[in-house]
């Protein structure tokens, strides 16, 4: 199995993580044909039903979709905390889909994860110092003085006052707990950080602090991120590329400006049209922004797909045939029920899984 190049030397937080596998075209993470099954009352169903994703070193891939679309399951599968997984999860050239036990340890160090609920994801009985030190201890960085120094560095990196290290999670605010989670995830200098709705539970002002923190750390450590959120504005802020999921499948995947500027999947358009304050609550009287909030200005033309969606997400227990979005799609036709649309590249780097993509002539 792979030897981990960082073992034993707790590098200071500011040191840029050496990019592995120097070939820039080889993705750091490549997920191919991912399927994750759950059971509901004994009956299996697929929460993720065949998904391809790639994340390059230092790149942030945003993953958006409504609740129940499987985006968290993707992160959990990549973190190898889901059992019933098929397809391939390849990290830095190695297939880790079925790695177990000892073989998985280096991978666990190289991939960190931060969860949604900042307080529930920390052990209430341990001090912040213990929580941040745990991954270091598990990784065999046993020397107490070294661990102590590294915990101090990490606390500083995420903006926690040293006095906080002796506290327990319930003595801290949600934003502070999320900083602790981030420090813990970064302890072993991961190359990939999985962030599952990390700011959803935070107030706007604290959310901005945590987003800034993630952007700073990413820059300093050349960290790749899989950033999952239902909040399109947050994803846009942070991501280099964005993938949109619906009911366990990929709808669209494109560089961020392309996705928000020229969304080609009817579902992406509907999502964007649903965002309140479409004209931007930022309220700088932007000239040319489309006036009263009827739709995002980024989706300028007035075609049928801008209508708000009706109805709810269908149950993943019994997904629609063909294109899973067809039951809510304003453009659905007979073919959509018969045939599952495969992702095709409509522009360089822009994949859409739709029989009738909205590609401007």
């Amino acid at each position: 199995m792979k030897t981990d190049d960082k073992r034993g030397t707790p590098l200071p937080g500011a040191a840029p993580g050496a990019a592995p596998g120097a070939d820039p075209d080889t993705p750091l993470l490549s997920v191919r044909g991912l399927r994750v099954r759950y059971r509901n009352a004994g009956r299996p169903f697929e929460a993720v039903a065949g998904l391809d994703l790639t994340v390059h070193a230092g790149e942030t891939l945003g993953l958006v979709g409504e609740s129940g679309c499987g985006k968290s399951t993707v992160a959990r599968a990549v973190a190898r905390i889901e059992d019933d997984v098929s397809g391939a999860i390849v990290f830095d050239g190695q297939d880790v889909t079925r790695a177990r036990g000892r073989a998985l340890k280096p991978y666990r160090r190289r991939v960190g994860m931060v969860f949604q609920d900042p307080i529930a994801s920390l052990n209430p009985r341990r001090t912040v110092r213990d929580i941040i030190a745990t991954p270091l201890t598990l990784a065999g960085k046993g020397d107490p003085a070294e661990v102590r120094a590294r915990v101090g560095e990490l606390a500083e990196l995420v903006g926690l006052h040293p006095s906080m290290l002796e506290r327990r999670p319930h003595e801290m605010s949600g934003g502070q707990c999320q900083r602790v989670s981030i420090a813990r995830a970064l302890a072993c200098l991961p190359e990939l950080l999985l962030c599952d709705e990390v700011v959803s539970a935070l107030d706007v002002s604290i959310q901005a602090q945590v987003l800034n923190l993630l952007m700073d750390i990413r820059e300093r450590q050349r960290l790749a991120m899989l950033f999952i959120s239902h909040d399109l504005a947050v994803v846009r802020q942070l991501s280099d590329r964005v993938a949109v999921m619906y009911l366990g499948m990929l709808c669209e995947d494109a560089p961020v400006d392309e996705l928000f500027g020229r969304p080609a999947h009817p579902y992406t358009r509907a999502l964007l049209a649903s965002v309140p304050g479409g004209a931007g609550p930022g309220a700088e009287p932007e000239p040319g922004s489309a006036g009263a909030g009827s739709g995002p200005a980024g989706v300028a033309s007035a075609d049928v797909a801008h209508r708000l969606l009706s109805g709810d997400l269908p149950s993943p227990l019994d997904p629609p045939s063909g294109c899973r979005f067809r039951t809510r799609c304003p453009l659905a036709q007979a073919r959509c029920a018969a045939e599952v649309p495969q992702p095709v590249e409509v522009r360089p780097g822009h994949r859409v899984a739709c029989h009738f993509p909205l590609v401007a002539a």
């Binding site: 409504e66 706007v204 002002s205 959310q207 399109l232 942070l238 969606l309």
Partner: protein, 368 residues
């Protein structure tokens, strides 16, 4: 639309009179102090509200700003033992809510004031079919018999846009999606055709496509029924699209107040400005650092003498630390702010000159 055929037709009366005399809800210096393990907390501190029929007032603020306590207190939903002190006055349609007894309050609550809570899963009773939950206030307040109440419940489910309402009426909350449950909550709140609907973060637990449906529904119902709506939200985008007036709260106090469009386009209180700047948008610059508000909200048990925002404020002056600013008209804008050193007006050209606190467009059409 009104399944019960009770009063309150949609009249085309002017939506508001600015002086507060036409107000359905009128608060003056309203305060709620609560007991907490660490002492008494000024959860709501000196709030003034004038809300007329047919209009939506958005109450904005972060957690702990007092927005939910304000609304729960109005409805008498706070546990009596928790309330240390209530101050100021609260009039609902001329009735003084402070002196009216619990029995009278029960007649107002659920009948004349409806409430929609944030989490539709925990707010509904999991072991009652939804029609029985919708029927409860109808039977209690309107004395409908079981059969009439069920019929009305089905009609209400229809009016909030639930398909196949007769079948859905017999279902339990767990058989419904989040958006469907929130529609049920709204149906319960609307049952007795309330004059005022209080919606506490009604869409926070919902997905964005469903949120758009629910907010559109609330707008439509408000216009149809000429209801007043208090919309509590932390989402400035929601506020921008779905309210006439806005009150920004910080640490229990009102920071800024006025017509939504004016406040969001030209915020004068540094806190409002900072809130707007801190939120990422779909159109602004991206990839750059956000203008985060440093520090944490203040400890409500130990509020500073001066402005509660002073410790985090980029425009803080000496006076801010010693003397709390009162809410007053801000020179050069049409709204009120509580600030000694307000944000200058950027290009004052497109802002109305002082005076009328309510903007021109009164009777808003439904944005559904």
């Amino acid at each position: 639309m009104n399944p019960l055929g009770t009063t309150n037709p949609t009249t085309g009366k002017p939506a508001s009179s600015a002086d507060g005399h036409g107000s359905l809800l009128r608060l003056r210096g309203y305060s709620v102090h609560l007991h907490s393990p660490r002492g008494i907390v000024a959860a709501v501190d000196g709030v003034d509200v004038d809300l007329a029929r047919g209009r939506t007032l958005a109450v904005v603020g972060e957690s702990g700003s007092g927005k939910s306590v304000l609304c729960r207190s109005l409805l008498g939903l706070l546990p009596a033992a928790a309330v240390a002190h209530r101050g100021g006055t609260a009039h609902f349609d001329g009735i003084d809510l402070a002196v009216t007894g619990e029995a009278a309050l029960r007649d107002i609550r659920g009948r004349r004031i409806g409430m929609v809570f944030q989490d539709p899963m925990t707010a509904l009773n999991p072991v009652l079919p939804v029609w029985r939950q919708i029927a409860l206030p109808l039977r209690r307040h309107l004395r409908l018999d079981r059969r009439a109440a069920k019929r009305a419940a089905v009609e209400l489910l229809d009016s909030v846009g639930i398909p196949d309402p007769a079948r859905r009426a017999d279902q339990y909350p767990v058989q419904m999606s989040g958006g469907m449950r929130q529609r049920v909550m709204i149906a319960i709140a609307l049952g007795c055709d309330p004059d005022l609907l209080i919606a506490d973060e009604p869409t926070t637990a919902l997905d964005v496509t469903v949120q758009a449906q629910i907010l559109g529904l609330l707008d439509r119902l408000r216009a149809e029924r000429d209801m007043a709506v208090i919309l509590i939200s932390h989402d400035l985008g929601v506020v921008a699209d779905h309210s006439d007036d806005v009150m920004v709260m910080y640490a229990g106090r009102q920071a800024e107040r006025g017509a939504t469009r004016g406040v969001l386009a030209g915020p004068r209180m540094p806190y409002t400005r900072a809130l707007l700047d801190a939120a990422p948008t779909l159109h602004g610059e991206r990839g750059r650092r956000l203008a985060a508000i440093g520090g944490q909200p203040p400890d409500l048990t130990r509020l500073p003498d001066g402005c509660a925002f002073a410790a985090r404020c980029p425009r803080v002056q000496d006076r801010c630390r010693t003397q709390a600013p009162p809410l007053a008209p801000v020179p050069g804008s049409a709204h009120d702010g509580a600030c000694w050193n307000p944000v200058p007006v950027p290009g004052s050209a497109d802002l109305p000159e002082g005076g009328a606190p309510i903007p021109q467009e009164t009777q808003e059409t439904s944005r559904a």
